[in-house]
């Protein structure tokens, strides 16, 4: 199976006079349909790596290819369009839009992308997604009226609405209790298995990472360890030890 992420020598330096090297020449390849986690302590560079993979930031050095596209050559507008079409995001703070209903939040990526599907088809997909996420009863509510767990499930639904090639999740359960954390991972796993979506999950919690097929550990801006979780691996991932 081909690589959907090919990162080579990814380096990120913040500041000009006082330079902080957040990433120091990271190489990372991720195959299609992989379910992997990036772990590391706070400040290790794992979120910086995810921001680069999500085209929310540009590397200071190195090259990055996503889904066969050299994204380093894309303009700002093209990067935004690429994010919308190929990537799904789940953030720690869910980042829903309080002005819109739950269903509208799910429809938002489609609206931004110019609604490639018809309005009816998009609505049907949103409703189907809401049922899958067990949110059918709250679809017309505003996001502020939901519990933390419900909000995160809406965010997951939103990340999947455009059928992205890769879902990037940054501490998606950081603000959830154990029960909701379990629910979120079950959902990720279910979507991964049913739809074959590639998942890259950043977490600082090793017990959560151990539920993924591949664990990439980042320390001081470098990949410290890259191991396949043999116990749970279900897909054809390609573990690599540096």
């Amino acid at each position: 199976m081909g690589d959907v992420i090919v990162g080579q020598g990814l380096t990120k330096v913040y500041g000009t006079t006082h330079k902080t090297h957040a990433l120091k020449g990271v190489d990372l390849n991720v195959q299609k349909q992989e379910f992997l986690s990036i772990i590391g302590q706070s400040g290790s560079g794992k979120s910086t790596l995810l921001n680069l993979l999500g085209l929310l930031d540009r590397p200071t050095e190195g090259s990055l290819e996503l889904v066969g596209t050299d994204v380093g050559r894309l303009s700002k507008r093209e990067r935004a369009a690429f994010r919308n079409e190929h990537l799904g995001f789940v953030f720690q703070f869910h980042h829903l839009l309080p002005e819109f209903s739950v269903r509208e939040n799910l429809l938002m990526p489609g609206w931004i992308g110019g609604q490639r599907a018809s309005l009816g088809a998009a609505r049907a997909r949103a409703d189907e997604m809401l049922e899958l996420l067990d949110l059918g009863d709250v679809k017309d509510k505003r996001s502020n009226d939901l519990s933390g767990g419900q909000k995160q499930r809406v965010a997951i639904g939103r990340s999947l609405m455009n059928s992205p090639d890769i879902v990037l999740a940054d501490e998606p359960t950081g603000n959830l209790d154990t029960k909701n954390t379990e629910q979120v991972y079950s959902l990720f796993r279910r979507v991964h298995e049913e739809w074959g979506t590639t998942f890259v999950i950043v977490t600082h919690d090793r017990s959560i990472a151990e539920q993924t097929d591949r664990i990439v550990e980042v320390r001081d801006g470098r990949i410290e360890q890259d191991v396949r979780n043999e116990h749970l691996a279900t897909s054809g991932s390609r573990p690599r030890t540096p």
Partner: protein, 382 residues
């Protein structure tokens, strides 16, 4: 259209704030239209009461007190000037009006009634009797009638400079609103005096005219000076420099008020929109992270400003129309001391344009800030 949809949601979500902006714009627009219309109407009312019943451009002989031939050549030049709306060739005769023992100096302006009425609006300003000057009829001023107890129907002997006298009959009493005119001027038909003065049929002492735009009197006068070098051409602006200065000052003050109102409205909208943009930074960051382009997120604030500007302008125009209607109904009351205000279409157009334009202009800063916003700042900020 997503930008418009998001803009509408932002407006709806911050209802109170949106209403404040709309009212802010509305008050600014209403003040602009009302004050503009008020000052324009005041100026029109002032002009009407000061120069509305007096000549605007005058033809006289070079030699003061003399007469000149109002030939067809001169007539055609005057008549063919498009701005001219009233023409009154007159014989102007100083006489002594005798009433009992009193002999009172009076200037009689004699000419065709239609011309005199065109300049002095006698038919509208007659307070007693009839505005009629045919035959021996004479129309005198209110203050003259009161001072010398002259009534409609009375005979008024008029002594001319050569010692002869003419008997005139008072047909009406006018009030032109100026005491000096009401006391010292009378209007009669030229037939009453022309023959006595030995003037040829086309000879007159003055030709008085009114033009449609009073402020173009200088231009008309200059044109006639060039065409009629044998005559003295005068216009009301050069003869009433102080009044003109007052009217021009009023116009300038009106413009100043408009400018300050526009600045105040603009600052109000700009600051509120800037605050709104800051408040919505998180949402804009999320939309950008999801793939919305810089220009589309910027458009959100442009639409927001446009919608608020349009709503505020519409409400402001309604408020102004209401205020003007209220003021006019008060002015219509007896002895209100107020003058009627007319809604000036030019101010409506100008204010509508200004209202929407300044709202859009106010969105420039939020637009630029939004374009510069990096979604990562929002995403990492939580």
């Amino acid at each position: 259209m997503l930008s418009l949809r998001v803009a509408l949601r932002f407006i709806a979500k911050s209802r109170f704030q949106s209403l404040l902006i709309v009212f802010g714009i509305a008050v600014g627009i209403a003040v602009q239209v009302f004050v503009g219309s008020l000052i324009t109407s005041l100026q029109a009312s002032l002009l009407d009461s000061t120069v509305g019943s007096s000549p605007h451009v005058i033809l006289e002989p070079i030699e003061k007190g003399g007469a000149f031939a109002y030939t067809e050549d001169v007539r055609s030049i005057v008549r063919d000037t498009p701005a001219v709306v009233a023409i009154s060739p007159q014989i102007v005769v100083p006489v002594l009006a005798t009433k009992g023992e009193a002999a009172v100096p009076l200037i009689v302006r004699a000419g065709e009634f239609a011309g005199l009425d065109g300049i002095y609006k006698l038919s509208q300003r007659t307070v007693e009797g009839e505005a009629r000057t045919g035959g021996d009829g004479i129309v005198i001023g209110k203050d003259f009638a009161e001072a010398y107890s002259v009534a409609v129907g009375d005979t008024l002997p008029l002594a001319l400079a050569d010692g002869t006298s003419v008997e005139a009959r008072v047909s009406g009493i006018f009030d032109l609103g100026v005491q000096a005119v009401n006391e010292g001027t009378a209007f009669a038909d030229s037939s009453l005096l022309a023959a006595r003065l030995g003037l040829a049929p086309d000879e007159v002492n003055v030709v008085e005219t009114q033009i449609d735009d009073v402020f173009s009197s200088s231009a008309v006068a200059d044109e006639w000076r060039a065409a009629l070098p044998q005559l003295e051409v005068g216009d009301w602006q050069e003869r009433n420099a102080e009044l003109l200065t007052a009217l021009q000052s009023q116009g300038t003050s009106s413009v100043m008020i408009q400018v300050f109102v526009v600045i105040a409205v603009m600052l109000g909208i700009a600051s509120t929109l800037a605050i709104s943009a800051v408040q919505k930074t998180r949402q804009i960051g999320i939309l950008k992270a999801l793939g919305m382009s810089d220009s589309s997120t910027g458009l959100v604030f442009l639409y927001q400003a446009g919608i608020l500007g349009f709503a505020g302008t519409l409400l402001g125009l309604g408020l102004a129309a209401g205020l003007i209607a209220l003021f006019s109904s008060l002015a219509a009351g007896p002895d209100s001391g107020l003058f009627p205000i007319k809604l000036q279409p030019s101010f409506v157009t100008l204010s509508a344009g200004v209202g929407i334009s300044i709202a859009l202009l106010s969105a420039v800063i939020p637009y630029r800030n939004t374009a510069r916003l990096d979604p990562i700042e929002v995403i990492q900020g939580g």
